[in-house]
Point group: C2
């Protein structure tokens, strides 16, 4: 027990013999997260349109909030005065904050980037803002989430070897500074764990080198970053296949900013435990739903007089209370409730998919199920099947 | 028992000896409404931003939906196919639909108005739409609410004697036609009650003549209309004071489109039982809250670091989960949750005010309480006190 007073630890309870998938329990100061688990994104301290009691009802266990947005408005000092993120958001379960790195590099007008950090222009008032690894840890310390993320350099083009190499090396240097600042501020014993982030773009060798560098720090968990930008599905999947299994089995693995049901199946099959993505709520607000019969656009005229639930196999409140025709009416008339009810359903769908994976893992049937699920939910010619864990694919050919 | 098979009846359980206020129970096919009661407005078949399970949790008993909006989109045939309003909205409690008259006269570009009905232009597609008393009953029959409203002519200027006289006479003629069509379609025995509407603008004599004409039909309830347009508070209050007590005591009295806490106190004191208004949700979406210490704008900078609940005396989920500072943050960043949480709070405030009136009526203390409530919540020079029921005012001068 190298850190006897840390409130964080991970138990891998059930590991699939056919794939790299595992079910586990991640212990945090605000409760246990049963993994694999999906974290809804509460960018500005709110999962858009969904109150926290509804998230609890939906089976959400851990939420994510964005340091970049909260640093700009209302500022970490205000959040701290209002009870830290848990009090602020009215959520007493575990919370994770990203470091702001991803948003700085993807959303901002960057003024300067150097070895020390990044200067950018606030989208709120045009002010010059400076983030460094130390500052990102300090801001997150004030926000007060259970898990905080290292400040990383997420390369904009994962196929540009020069850019990726620079960004990856910088990410490693910055992690060392984050670790130092995190320890100075009290470390895990104070109730906040720091996760490091693997970069390396689409380059296997850089991904593995990054895993080595990041795991040279003994942290409560590790993340795979930079997979939701750039060249899309294939390079993301390769990066996950290379990096995730190389991370220590006794720590949670968090795949950042991913994704879709197909992505979860693939990533869990390669040993990932935690996920976050805006997909369920963003799709919900644009009237798209994830269902057992595929993705659905609720604005479509064919639903006008359809009295069936959105997904007859679904037990969420949207599906147990309303018809497709009613949901279409809400979408067509621009009612707030459309986005709310579709976000609820999508979040339930994501949570239920991951809960089903946990059940299959506990029952020792994940390998066969993952193949069947893929066959049932995606076309048999789906590229998903090509990237499913090796043994699972062999089983399929039995 | 002139209508032995009607599922509708009203019991006046407690009548205040000092004022005209009474607590009662209105029986409908979808349950009992404890009166006085506030009905949230679900214009297009949704109370904006609030799912039905949340309305139930807030203590809402009966909802209102708008025939005008639902006739335009999605159309009454679609609503009927999707289970009628109860199935459509996912609300198994009582529902009332207005007749569309108010919206036709206030929102539409009217093409023609004559003794037979009104032609207007659809705001959705510009189509010519025709509503007559018979048609309004037919549309509402398909929508399937528990209570449907007579098609009335609501005068645009309650102070224009000629216009008001014409509109009032027309309202009486149209009621006779609504009653006939309602009986032909099965009447109350089929599970829908028809309420008549008193018009008469700001003219006491016309109001009383209208009460006489409307109550010449034996209906399950009567409404006072035309009080939310025109010259505002004073003429509205006089109209209520004249018309409401003149309506039969053994039937529910519904004051249409009103209003504010002050309005409820005044109207209940003059014997009104049912209310509807968009105030709680519309104010909520524009970041205004009703509280025990007055009306509050949540965008105000003074709330930025305020860790107190919005209303420390309130038990709603908004006040038990969040701080004023958090609510202000949601308002300032334009988050959907701002309007949702403030609408929840306002609806709870309205429901709780009417529940408190019911408790005071049951305890026989309404008269004294209404004066104290007025003194506590409004300035002692409030015009409210001038129009409170006579006996209550006398008590105050004791």
């Amino acid at each position: 027990m190298s850190e006897p007073t840390s409130p964080f630890h991970f138990e891998a309870l059930h590991t699939c013999p056919d794939t790299g998938a595992r079910a586990g329990r991640f212990h945090t100061p605000h409760g246990i997260v049963e993994t694999p688990a999906f974290m809804p994104v509460g960018t500005r301290g709110t999962v858009k349109g969904i109150p926290p009691w509804e998230l609890r009802e939906l089976g959400s266990q851990m939420l994510l909030a964005n340091t970049y947005h909260l640093h700009l408005r209302p500022g970490e000092d205000v959040v701290a005065e209002l009870g830290g993120l848990h009090g602020f958001m009215g959520w007493d379960g575990p919370i994770l904050t990203d470091s702001g790195g991803y948003q700085v590099f993807s959303l901002s007008e960057i003024r300067r980037i150097d070895e020390d950090g990044v200067s950018f222009k606030s989208v709120v008032d045009g002010d010059r803002i400076r983030l460094t690894p130390e500052r990102a840890v300090e801001v997150q310390t004030k926000l007060g989430a259970d898990v905080i993320m290292a400040f990383d350099h997420c390369p904009s083009n994962p196929l540009d070897r020069d850019e990726v190499e620079t960004a990856t090396r910088r990410t490693h240097d910055w992690l060392a500074r984050c670790v130092r600042r995190h320890r100075e501020l009290g470390g895990e014993e104070r109730g906040q764990a720091l996760f490091g982030i693997v970069q390396g773009g689409a380059f296997e060798e850089l991904r593995l080198r990054s895993v080595e560098a990041i795991t040279s720090h003994d942290l409560a968990g590790y993340a795979v970053g930079g997979v939701s930008v750039g060249e899309g599905r294939e390079s993301m999947r390769r990066a996950v296949e290379v990096a995730a299994p190389a991370l220590p089995a006794e720590k949670p693995r968090y795949l950042m900013g991913i994704g879709t049901p197909e992505d979860f199946l693939h990533a869990v099959g390669h040993g990932c435990d935690l996920f976050d993505c805006v997909t369920p709520t963003r799709h919900g607000r644009t009237h798209q739903a994830f269902t057992s019969y595929g993705r659905v656009n609720l604005r479509n005229a064919k639903w006008e007089r359809d009295a069936e639930p959105l997904d007859p196999t679904c037990g969420c409140r949207t599906c147990t209370h309303f018809s497709r025709g009613y949901l279409r009416h809400l979408c067509k008339t621009g009612e707030m409730l459309a986005g709310i009810l579709l976000s609820l359903h999508n979040l339930h769908y994501f949570n239920e998919l991951l809960a089903e994976m946990r059940r299959q893992l506990a029952a020792g049937t994940f390998g066969a199920w993952s193949v069947k699920y893929g066959v049932r939910h995606f076309s048999s010619a789906s590229p998903l099947l090509e990237v499913l864990p090796r043994v699972a694919k062999e089983k399929k050919s039995d």
